[in-house]
């Protein structure tokens, strides 16, 4: 039997838990923690989220029909809604429905 999903979940759980527990084990107070650790943690988040957007779109075909039109339109809609309204639930559900509608039509 393939037990990779279970191993995968354990690896992800342990890595995440370690990151959350380590500061409390290693450092006596906030001041004694090295500055660069704190800065790197803050800098990585935006870059990794940018990478995950690319990761999600990695299978999109740009050069054949429908030329990524569903993706581009839906993403534009999500960015617009989020920027104007700042309501995550609204942006995600509207954007996803927009994409699903495209798949139905095309």
């Amino acid at each position: 039997m393939n037990n990779t999903p279970f191993s995968m979940i354990m690896v992800l759980s342990l890595t995440t838990a370690a990151l959350r527990l380590i500061p409390f084990i290693l450092f006596k107070d906030t001041e004694s923690a090295p500055k660069w650790i704190q800065q790197l943690g803050g800098k990585l988040a935006p870059a990794l989220m940018g990478m995950l957007v690319v990761y999600c779109l990695k299978g999109t075909a740009i050069l054949s029909r429908p030329f990524a039109i569903p993706e581009i339109t839906s993403i534009a809609l999500i960015v617009f809604l989020q920027w104007k309204k700042g309501n995550m639930l609204l942006s995600i559900s509207t954007g996803t429905l927009c994409y699903m509608a495209f798949l139905h039509i095309l």
Binding site: T4, M8, V54, E71, M100
Partner: protein, 242 residues
């Protein structure tokens, strides 16, 4: 005597609950919705309720769980990439932990759980380090952390059941994952300091995607992103320092 102490303990817990619960309501809506979406996608891949409970209970990290959806069936040679991804995606938790060392100092046997449950949203509720007057600190922090965790698990359970019982035409629902990351990036963009990092992330991974192909671009992307962030100076930061 003993029952008197219990009564005292219960009423303090009750008071803390009364103060803490309303604060968690915004997280409740967000976690129920995202947990639901996550588990719906998971169940579409053929993983049932037990898997969604295991993931949401043990990993308890939204972005990572969404990203991991496509890794579950990818074979053991992907475990190392996954660990590296988990480390980089969640490295920001080091920062949260470091800033909570003092407020969580006297939490005793609750401390490991409070540290484990320190997600972005929970952190945003406890990061002030201030507990309302007359409220027991331990109860307050525990209630906030445990409620948020429960919302996430509950949302995941509901999503898993919905995916299993509703036979809707859900073609394209997987786009909700893309939508989530687009929303996060849009929010990051509001803060000018983050724009440099977002651009590094998008550009680096896009170039790596073209160079290495979609099966192998994650590791080179992560290494290059790490290097770029360490070496190249954020122009926005320079401006602020000057």
């Amino acid at each position: 005597m003993k029952s008197g102490q219990n009564h005292l303990h219960n009423s303090r817990f009750g008071e803390a609950l009364k103060v803490a619960f309303p604060k968690t309501i915004p997280v409740m809506t967000g976690y129920l919705f995202l947990g639901f979406s996550f588990a719906l996608l998971l169940s579409k891949q053929g993983y049932g309720l037990e898997w969604s409970l295991l993931m949401s209970g043990c990993i308890y990290a939204g972005s990572l769980q969404f990203a991991a959806l496509s890794w579950l069936s990818s074979g053991p040679d992907f475990l190392l990439t996954a660990a590296l991804m988990a480390f980089l995606i969640n490295a920001r938790h080091l920062m949260y932990g470091i800033s909570m060392i003092k407020p969580y100092k006297k939490m005793g046997h609750l401390k490991p759980y409070l540290a484990f449950a320190l997600t972005d949203e929970t952190y945003s509720l406890v990061c002030s380090g201030k507990v309302p007057e007359g409220i027991n600190e331990k109860s307050y922090y525990f209630i906030i952390s445990a409620l948020d965790h429960l919302y996430w698990i509950l949302g995941s359970a509901l999503g898993s059941l919905a995916g299993h019982w509703l036979s809707l035409d859900l073609q394209g629902i997987e786009f909700s994952m893309t939508a989530l990351f687009v929303v996060i990036v849009t929010e990051q963009w509001r803060n000018k300091q983050n724009r440099f990092g977002v651009m590094i992330g998008i550009e680096t991974s896009f170039i790596c995607l073209l160079l290495f192909g979609k099966s192998y671009f994650l590791i080179p992307s992560m290494i290059l992103i790490l290097f770029s962030l360490l070496i190249v100076k954020n122009p926005q930061e320079k401006e602020n320092n000057a």
